[in-house]
Symmetry: C2
Subunit: 364 residues, 2 copies
């Protein structure tokens, strides 16, 4: 791995500490209900130890860009977004029947194995599912607890709440559209892009930036994002192309990524039959023979190394990867350009330019 941008590492260590402190408090509450809670606590702690902390970084720099001072309070509030994200990962892995997350067995698989190892009653799969649902719910509920316990003044929290609320409703809407789109077999580029808008662009970049801005006192509203000249609109102008670039990088890593780097098995997106933009472009560009290879492997749960290699070659041969790389470069440049005249601090301008590159780098 190359050295990540300072804008990201500067926030990451402090977010890690804030999450450890929060999880430590909850550990005491949960253990007072019973020692049986310990494996659940440990599974959540393990999951929360990983991750690039992108959403907290965007929230933090959204705050700093709007003139908010550095301090532990904004780190706590930003770190709350990682609880929401961990919840989404636990539930996503369950829905996608994913075996791995951040290089470890996914949470439902951990508890499936836990149940099987003890020869307990009932189905190990159902037990793993139940644990993943409950622990994901707990992480989701904790988002608000950490946000409101951040130490930020009540006025700031009141300004931030509508953004946090909208951000959550939007990410669920995106996941819903994804689930329905995959089931209905709606493999169009337009449908894939709408899922990207809700599941990735708004959730990972635009709303975390808006949240930081609103917490710092920038006047936020759904309309402010569409009114040129203001801070909130500048964040949107930066976030929209960057979100697309970020998702395209994720699409490429989902097919071509090294498991040591992605924490997921090679070719996982193909195995799960994900309707990504990369695959939509590949299908649109494919010859009849190439299309047949894609259809053969897409969604095949038994996809092996040879099959992964074959579909990688075909996707590359269609020119879809080159087209995606070109799109990533263009979108990152567009995002950085949108900052040029933004009414933000120069420190934040530099940090957000760094973040745009770090969030879309080939080394993930």
């Amino acid at each position: 791995m190359t050295v990540p941008a300072v804008a990201l590492t500067q926030v990451r260590g402090r977010v890690d500490s804030a999450l450890r402190a929060f999880a430590g408090q909850q550990r005491a509450v949960l253990l007072s209900a019973g020692d049986e809670l310990l494996p659940g606590i440990e599974a959540m702690t393990g999951l929360l130890a990983g991750g690039k902390r992108l959403r907290p970084a965007f929230c933090y720099w959204g705050w700093r860009g709007a003139g908010g001072p550095d301090g532990p309070e904004i780190i706590n509030a930003a770190a709350a977004l990682e609880l929401l994200h961990a919840s989404a990962l636990v539930h996503d892995d369950l829905m996608d029947a994913s075996d791995t997350r951040r290089g470890q067995p996914s949470l439902h698989r951990q508890f499936e194995a836990y149940h099987a190892g003890r020869r307990w009653h009932g189905s190990s799969g159902a037990f793993g599912m139940g644990m993943a649902i409950l622990l994901g719910d707990l992480l989701l509920a904790w988002t608000d607890e950490m946000f409101h316990g951040s130490g930020l003044p009540a006025d700031a929290l009141r300004r931030g709440r509508p953004v946090l609320d909208l951000m959550r409703t939007e990410v669920f809407a995106g996941q819903y559209l994804d689930l329905v789109g995959q089931a209905a077999g709606d493999g169009t580029l337009e449908s894939a892009l709408r899922v990207v808008e809700y599941k990735t662009t708004k959730y990972t970049i635009e709303r975390p930036l808006h949240l930081g801005a609103a917490l710092a006192g920038a006047p936020w509203s759904a309309d402010a994002a569409a009114t040129p000249g203001g801070l909130v609109a500048a964040y949107t102008a930066y976030g929209l192309p960057l979100g697309t670039a970020f998702q395209l990088r994720d699409d490429i890593l989902g097919v071509f990524g090294d498991p040591a780097q992605t924490g997921k098995p090679a070719g996982d997106d193909v195995r799960e039959g994900k309707h990504t933009v990369l695959l939509a472009i590949a299908r649109a560009r494919a010859t009849g023979q190439q299309a047949a290879v894609i259809e053969r492997y897409l969604g095949d749960p038994l996809l092996d190394e040879a099959g992964t290699a074959e579909i990688r070659t075909v996707i590359t041969d269609t020119g879809a990867v080159a087209e995606c790389e070109e799109m990533i470069g263009r979108h990152v440049a567009e995002a950085v350009a949108a900052l040029a005249d933004a009414p933000i601090t120069s420190e934040a301008r530099d940090a957000l330019a760094d973040l745009a590159v770090a969030a879309t780098a080939r080394d993930g």
Copy 2:
């Protein structure tokens, strides 16, 4: 059905209206993401239309008892607990593989049928599961949005938050203990009672009362509940026996209840192999022959009408039902007695006495 207590009906209609208004606002947000969201909105709206609103009623009367004035704000804040509860029901039904809820197909079954009817790709069961996870998550996230948008002053909300936070962590801890207890085959009375304490007593009665009290300005802390003489301790003294009575009534309805009244198929608790206090008592009192009948049917997914009738007879013959009815009467009396010297308004004292009876009545 007999006429329900005024204390409950007075709150129910207003909570219904508050939930309809909130769901209406969210409908617009979700539809702006795509028309595909409509079936999800309708499923949530249908679920939210039902229910006795017990938790909002306890929250409302907890507030009134502490001297809080009547008004739409406390109704909104109390109604937020129904969003949390609806989320728990959706996820519980999925974990328990329950087919029915409030007389309708459970949410995951609705979307399983929706998928099957459209001959969509993939497994209908996985689609139903995914939709239930997502919609349950959305309802859970909305709890905080409705609570903070209730119109109560910022100071009141700040006082109430720790109670809402603890209440959620506790109910997940209770569900976790229930899941682990059932898998580990821990069928002792002690273990069943601990699950009742967390899943029912604290969640349905004690914490909603505490939430109302804290919102109204009563000094709340984890210690206050254990310090005799104060308002918060009086609510706990009322809530603990009432929670046990409430759960025992639920246990009896789960085996003997009329589907038209419970909204669940007859004998559902037996079919699902629930480790209830009623069944723990029945097992402890059973002769060898009676125990064999209980073991044969408990957890049998194919339990039919004849089997339900047989296990009902056996449970009654052990004397477990009579013992539970006696315990219910004793605990309700204890709950009402705890109010006698409580430092609350006389109107709230009468309403809470009514609620104790309404929450544990034979007609459910």
